[in-house]
Amino acid sequence: MKRIIIADDSATARMFIKRCLDIIGLSEAEYVEAEHGKEALAAAKEKLPDLLLTDLNMPVMDGETLLKWVKASPKLCDLPVIVITSAGNPAKEAQLLKLGARQVLNKPVSPPVMMQALADFLDD
């Protein structure tokens, strides 16, 4: 069973992402929800998930800082991170990919876009 962390300060956004994942065949996955980057980082260290989906703009610790912490951690550096943001554009996307994000998706995210982004992950 896949273990997935969803980090977003909005319960609506977390529910929306989870619904997309359910639709594309991940309804059996174990989900851990976090309201900010710090909570997501602590959960990632404890749970060692298969995938981390994170918003960019969050209180306490934002998604970019979370990404940097994950990629700097020997325990978590191979964890695929997908950033789902309302503040994305090609320039920001390039910056996040350089930091180690696997994909950057713009809100509102749809099941087909999520499916395409997770094609490799779903095949594993």
Binding site: S10, T12, N89, A91, K107, P108
Partner: protein
């Protein structure tokens, strides 16, 4: 100089894309350009833009529309909806709309920075003369309004040179 596309169209597209995608709702211009949401029916939120220009975007709608959106998005019956869910939906809608608005507005190589949405209380603040207002409604004629406030943001309304 900031390269940008037309302001009005950028917002219109952002709202349409957000509501269609999140709630399967179609939006169009309100038939009455003078329409104002009655104060007792008002739900609103605002968000600051800090880069590359400073400004504020506000989203206002009727409580009835907010309840409909919350029921549609969370797949709940109206009596099951909580105030926290409605507040969260309002914030997430504005967050998504503002992000798409700036993405639509600015050139591809231009990054931007959004603040976190904050709930509005009471009546909407009085608008500066320079503010731009979008008066929209859903197919069920439920009104919603968007406001771009702040001289540097509104200055992007002028055509790019």
């Amino acid at each position: 100089m900031i390269e940008h596309k037309p302001l009005y169209q950028a917002m219109q597209q952002a709202v349409s894309q957000t509501l269609e995608n999140m709630a399967f709702m179609e939006v169009m211009e309100h038939f009455d350009p003078d329409y104002e949401i009655p104060a007792e029916q008002l739900a609103w939120t605002s968000l600051l833009i800090s880069d590359p220009v400073q400004g504020e975007v506000r989203l206002a709608m009727t409580k009835t529309l907010l309840e409909k959106l919350t029921a549609a998005i969370f797949a709940l019956e109206p009596e099951e909806i909580s105030q926290a869910q409605m507040d969260d939906i309002l914030h997430e809608l504005l967050n998504t709309i503002a992000g798409l608005f700036m993405t639509n507005l600015l050139a591809d190589n231009q990054t931007f920075q959004l603040g976190l949405p904050e709930a509005g209380e009471g009546e909407l603040p009085e608008l500066e003369e320079s503010a731009v207002v979008w008066k929209l409604m859903t197919a069920d004629e439920d009104p919603l309004q968007l406001f771009a406030v702040g001289v540097p943001l509104v200055a992007l309304n002028k055509p790019a040179e």
